[in-house]
Symmetry: C2
Subunit: 432 residues, 2 copies
């Protein structure tokens, strides 16, 4: 038996023990993602609720408290329900998150989101009292929403299974795109209701449109087939063309002539519809994500059980004269081990455990390779945010202006935005 060795205590863990531990680690990671999936879904719903609350609050404030009080009240009530669901989902995973902590970054971002949530009653009170402007209210809600989306980005970064990571990357970029859409809705509302789009407002709108497109590009490249189809039918809808016409109208005509204030209502309705449709695509991705988690978890659990049985069988057998056939998981080939002379007790067993270890090495390596593109997508976003912060700091410009500078750099140099951002960040270290 290959678990006994002379001169060593029998309690020493064996290769087989660690092989199983490696598989168990994968299983535990998948279980963690099944649970995190509920938190992510609750965040998706809560973000949508807060976006609706933001919109209604802005209309309420914009009308000087004269209109939309009931609608706003309904949104606030709905958001509270969604906050409870989020807190419930978080409480269920709290033990797993903190006892076997995966990422201090993730925990800190959750702290950040919870802190924002703790400020929500005070924010609502200020809206009630009309004690802040539409811009200030938008900023406060956007900040809270951003904190929640950041939690999902961080969760995506902790994924080790490539298919799961990919779907999370798709979903969070869609969420982020929808948020930029919500901010665009607010900017458009401000422009149309005031009757004019000044230079700053136009630039902001342009930035938000471009930011959405970049998010949606990443979504498309990582999404599953069904969600992509849903997305394409959204894009093919007449609504998109009408929104584009309104954008053009606002930014071009809106500089010279006072705009028809009724366009404000039309704009708000269209953009709200768009966001609701985007939410449906988000739900589709979340559904695929959940299905994939369940599939992978079942696969991993079966693999583990199969391996444990196989290893137990190996332990019980007498050393055979011939090398044994190793029956592995269907689809996973047992590769031939190193070639040893056929003499030597324990070498056939050695080859079998060896094959299993080699197979695991190959599997994990392949998974890591496949994970690369998802990791890069997340890294690109972080690099871009860093580059933007550098530009803001260095040139004392706004977030939108910094994004514009970055985009221009990319266009002028004929390079991709992420390349330019990466170069900027690395140059900053050198020029510090």
């Amino acid at each position: 038996m290959n678990t006994k060795r002379q001169q060593h205590t029998p309690a020493a863990p064996t290769a087989a023990d660690y092989l199983i531990a490696s598989r168990q680690c994968e299983l535990m990671n998948l279980q963690y993602f099944l649970q995190m999936g509920k938190v992510v879904q609750s965040i998706s719903n809560l973000v949508h609720g807060l976006q609706r609350e933001r919109g209604a609050s802005n209309l309420y404030l914009g009308s000087g408290g004269q209109k939309y009080a009931d609608e706003r009240g309904a949104m606030v009530g709905e958001s509270d329900r969604l906050v409870s669901e989020f807190e419930q989902a978080l409480a269920e995973v709290h033990e797993a998150l903190t006892a076997h902590p995966v990422s201090s970054h993730l925990l800190n971002h959750i702290a950040s989101a919870l802190h924002g949530l703790e400020q929500l009653p005070a924010l609502r009170a200020r809206v009630d009292a009309q004690a802040l402007s539409v811009a200030e209210a938008t900023e406060a809600y956007s900040s809270l929403i951003h904190a929640f989306i950041t939690v999902v980005f961080e969760a995506a970064d902790t994924a080790v299974d490539p298919s799961i990571a990919g779907l999370l990357v798709a979903m969070v970029h869609l969420m982020n795109g929808k948020e930029f859409c919500g901010q665009e809705r607010a900017v458009g509302s401000a422009g149309f209701s005031s009757g004019a789009f000044d230079s700053a407002l136009s630039k902001r709108m342009m930035h938000l449109v471009e930011a959405q497109e970049r998010c949606f590009e990443v979504f498309v490249s990582f999404a599953d087939e069904d969600s992509r189809k849903l997305w394409h039918s959204l894009r093919a809808h007449d609504r998109e063309a009408e929104i584009e016409r309104l954008r053009q109208h606002g930014c071009s005509v809106g500089r010279y002539k006072t705009l028809d204030p009724e366009l404000a209502d039309r704009w708000f309705a269209l953009m709200s519809e768009r966001m609701d449709e985007l939410k449906k695509v988000e739900d589709a991705v979340e559904g695929s994500f959940h299905t994939r988690c369940v599939e992978r978890f079942a696969e991993a659990r079966n693999s583990l059980a199969h391996q444990e049985t196989l290893i137990a069988t190996l332990d019980r057998q007498e050393p055979p004269a011939q090398p044994m056939l190793v029956l592995c998981d269907s689809g996973e080939d047992a590769r031939a081990g190193e070639s040893w002379d056929s003499a030597g007790v324990g070498q056939q067993f050695g080859r079998s455990i060896f094959d299993l270890v080699q197979e695991q090495t190959r599997r994990l390596q392949q998974m890591t390779d496949e994970l690369q593109s998802a990791k890069e997508a997340l890294e690109d976003r972080k690099t871009q945010e860093k580059a933007v912060l550098l530009l803001m700091d260095h040139r004392k410009i706004s977030n939108d202006e910094a994004h514009r500078v970055l985009r221009k750099l990319a266009m002028d140099q004929g390079k991709k935005l992420t390349e330019v951002a990466r170069a900027l960040v690395s140059m900053a270290d050198v020029l510090k």
Copy 2:
């Protein structure tokens, strides 16, 4: 009090809870590294013991079993002692490694190393019986040693603290360099004792010399001051010059004239001395690594205690009229929170927790940034190994030949080896 919110169960985790959980996650990670440090040290010692055993076994085999039997026996006994120490260290960390698994890759590589260890008695029996060649014995020992060094590489990849990661990267590259040195010792012995260095042997030696230098370069760039000094005095020693003279002599003269067989003994003695001196530098790095782990752990534990006290104090106080001064860890500034109106209950508390969360975000971001270079060094090695495997597979050439092709590519294109390797790997995906 900011932990109470209307309509929500008081049991819901708060921002403060997650802030503390984030710090606890850091602490648990550092504790895990303190324990892993013992495993890493035992691996360092075991690898050195196996290298000595390999050397003695080769001399024994090379002399047809006529000489070095006693020396080999002593090495085998010493290695067994070191195996016990390794198993002991591993048993102590087994619980932590498997209950809160950090990396399925790491666990699988440990399985691989343990499997190799289980084959060691059989290998020794074959050496006893002189049932394998010097080359075969070298290959078998090298394979086992490689498995252990891979465990340390994988452990380095799980580090999140940049200073700890850096020292682990330094140490494992030194270990790897010492292993290439051991393989060079074997190649040189073969050449000098046979009296000639044919083309294949010369190429192999050249490859091993170059591979060592690359490892030592990375070591130097990540090592601490004291270890670097020790390293420089090793390089300044006369031994280095004599080894270089022997290399030149063997590879040039050794093609045309039969070499003096006594050079074989001189070569072996010099290279063994060199490896012992390298081990001392390795021990110095390990010492610095341990010291750093202890320091960071103490820092993190104090930070956590401080934060818990601070947060408890915040919870107990009445809302003050003025914003509170936040006393944070010395050296970590509390940054001003977003600007809110001074009206609004709970906002001052909000700002304090907000400050702590912001500070943690900044700290973690900075740590991740500083971690980049260590991560890149580990990634570079993996990319190079991938590129080598690709070339071996594509052109049906040996490991050494593939390395040579890669080096030539780098020279011809005037680029760094890692750049060329990265380009090759990405092209392979495209051309598949």
